[in-house]
Amino acid sequence: MKALIYSTVIVGLVPIQSVLLPHISFWGVRPDLGFVAVCLIGLIAGELDGLLMGLALGWAMSLFSAQDLISCMVLKGTVGFVAGLAGRQVVYLSPVVLVAGLLVVSCLAGLVAPFALQLSVEQDWWWAVWTVVLPQACLDAMIGGLIYWIMLSRWSIEQLMSESRM
């Protein structure tokens, strides 16, 4: 069941990210649904699931991007692992705290990306921060918070977290 859910997330998320999201981008920037999914999976299901899903989603998404495979896999895997470790430290996670957490983690991951990708000279650090990192972090946080709020209203997240982390 778990493998089926994760496979569906991987196979379904890439088309949505590459086909549908370009139509609803803000300032030319799209949210990274892979990042949001990995964070939520890490938080709810633990660091191992976050790590493995991060690696798998990073691999799948890199096949449809110019981004190199290693940076994509390692960044998403690390994010999933960190989200899992963070989820272990909290008893109750409100949507507001999650939004703030996603904003910070997305900013940090975004700041690492220009160095990991070795972008052109024109795409300097300030350009990256103002045109990609901050807008994307805001979008990631908003979408992540929205998904978490929907999940919270439909399921018992605490029970799900404790079940999956036993």
């Binding site: 088309p15 086909v19 690696l55 096949l63 110019a66 895997g77 220009p114």
Partner: protein
């Protein structure tokens, strides 16, 4: 309320962590080799994902078509009249160019070359965009199984679109000419000065390394120089809109408005470089006798 059992046995967790550790060590020690292995192994995964990708792209095309035909019709009449005026002007210009093409041997050789290139190119449809925000790319519905491979040039009848950077069995990723990480050898058509065309962060392109003595000016057309693999000589890249000459610089550069709007491109031609004839073959230079 339905719950899903997410329990993982301890030994499986340990095994998974061990595998991940091996992977990370592998990435650190053999990054290139492991990346190519994953790219190869990712073929079936890419093929599997390409099916929902095509399905979603198809649905999106139909919705966009219906929207464009029935809903978004504001200003269509005005646009239609403007396009008709532009078409008349272009017809006139086209006639003049045809006359000129007959008169020059060079242009006729180029036309002959176009006839030769056409069978070697593969038509493909744009089905998506980059999954990240760092690169400006498009995803095509043709891949390695159709003969596509990295570094092949991608064009439309209007001009250069970009370069293939990655392929799966049924899809290909094209880095656009407007991406700052792309570099294509370019040539100013009027002055014959060569340079490198790179994208800019503003969505335009820039021709770099133009000699200081060049008298290039705004309005000049930039075409591919054919010096690097992927593009034959003479395919339009864009028009110069500004010349930048800095004091004490060794070269000057020019800002280019690309001929193709990468955000609106829907169908493209991928040039399979292996079949492109050399300059000598095109102009009929005799081969040296052994």
């Amino acid at each position: 309320m339905r719950m899903v059992n997410f329990r993982v046995p301890y030994s499986a967790r340990r095994g998974a962590f061990f595998l991940v550790l091996i992977l990370v060590v592998g990435f650190l020690l053999l990054p290139g080799q492991l990346q190519s292995v994953f790219q190869e192994v990712g073929g079936p995964l890419g093929w599997m994902i390409s099916w929902p990708l095509r399905a979603v792209a198809g649905i999106q095309d139909r919705i966009a078509g219906a929207w464009g035909r029935y809903v978004a019709l504001q200003g269509v009449e005005e646009e239609n009249q403007q396009l008709r005026r532009e078409l008349d002007l272009l017809k006139e210009q086209n006639g003049q160019l045809r006359e000129a093409s007959v008169a020059t041997e060079r242009l006729s050789a180029l036309l002959e070359f176009k006839k030769q290139v056409l069978p070697t190119s593969v038509a493909a449809q744009v089905i998506g965009r980059d999954t990240g925000n760092w690169y400006k790319t498009i995803i095509l519905n043709k891949g390695a199984s159709d003969g596509l491979q990295s570094d092949q040039g991608v064009i439309t009848p209007a001009g250069v679109v970009g370069r293939v950077v990655k392929t799966t069995a049924s899809t290909a990723v094209v880095l656009l000419v407007t991406d700052p990480n792309n570099a294509i050898a370019g040539l100013i058509q009027r002055t014959r000065d060569e340079g490198i065309v790179e994208g800019t962060t503003q969505g335009q392109a820039r021709l770099k390394y133009i000699p200081l003595l060049s008298n290039a000016r705004p309005g000049d057309h930039v075409v591919t120089s054919g010096l690097v693999e992927g593009f034959p000589r003479g395919i339009p890249i864009g028009t110069i809109i500004r010349i930048d000459k800095e004091e004490e610089a060794l070269f000057q550069s020019a800002e280019i408005s690309p001929e193709v709007d990468p955000n609106r491109v829907e169908e493209v031609l991928v040039i399979r470089s292996a079949s492109i004839p050399t300059e000598g073959e095109r102009f009929g230079v005799p081969k040296p006798k052994p």
